[in-house]
Symmetry: C2
DNA sequence: CTCGTTGCAAAATGTTTGCAATGTA
DNA sequence: TACATTGCAAACATTTTGCAACGAG
């Protein structure tokens, strides 16, 4: 039994919630990839696997996954809310290209300690560090295009 | 003439856009505070000042302000999209309490240099550093409540 | 005078919720 | 069996857009 399943099961039990096929399917789909995803993508993934769960259920489930600490929202602007799993995924930072939307991940490195200390200095128990660097990727070293909507 | 107005005017000219009362009102309202705001709040602020601009116009204007580099989206999860002005606002980090929603700002400090180096290492021209530390504030040193929707 | 801009209302999204049927512990 | 869960459709909240009237350069 994979570790994350145990974690989720314990979380459900502790909160008087039930382990259902829909929830298990969603959980597996979420951990089947290291990519970011939104609820719609999760919905598609399940259908592609021949599984089923309504969007409503997935929206409800993703909240549980976040509450359990297994998943977090990706701290990046965008149309839809995107998520990523955390388990086995060390704290990292995102490099976002404001031109083409390219996204790169890397480790926090030296910054991590400094940030944790800042949190501590204010008396906060820090559970999550979200860092995104927005700028222009090497490929887009050009100029911006049209600005109008 | 305030610096940010000059910047916005140049931005408009460069893109063949026009300087209108609505846009100027929005710009001033945005820079009148250092708080985060969403479009609805901006709308209220204008009305309170006896100025007027439709929500549609404000949504259109805020995009221009972001494109001009004067304003950015706040990289924090939430119901509505929130913004903050950047001009005269040094790079900083946000401490977010996942219990009560409290929000604290602080300087990046030592982390800034480390993060910039990471960007450089990947060949990115970094324009913006967004950091949020999510956790539990001192006041909320308690336990979580009900998890269910 | 030419084109960008505005407001309104309608449309489009993304997400939540009430409710009756269903399933888990 | 008791109560949590699901799907559906309706409700919501936010943001975008078409269009005709208006306004800046």
């Amino acid at each position: 039994m994979e570790e994350y399943k145990v974690i989720f099961e314990k979380f459900l039990q502790k909160n008087g919630l039930r382990l259902t096929p829909s929830r298990m399917s969603a959980l597996e789909a979420v951990f089947a990839t290291h990519d970011h995803f939104d609820v719609e993508a999760l919905y598609d993934t399940l259908r592609r696997r021949g599984l089923r769960a309504s969007r409503a259920t997935l929206y409800r489930t993703i909240h549980l996954l976040v509450a359990s600490g297994l998943v977090r929202q990706v701290p990046i602007q965008g149309e839809t809310t995107r998520y990523e799993h955390i388990w086995g995924h060390p704290r990292h930072l995102h490099l976002v290209c404001t031109e083409c939307g390219a996204l790169l991940e890397d480790e926090l490195g030296a910054a991590e300690q400094a940030l944790l200390e800042t949190g501590m200095r204010h008396g906060w128990r820090v559970n999550e560090i979200a860092v995104s660097l927005r700028g222009v990727c090497p490929k887009c070293g050009k100029e911006a295009n049209d600005v109008r909507a």
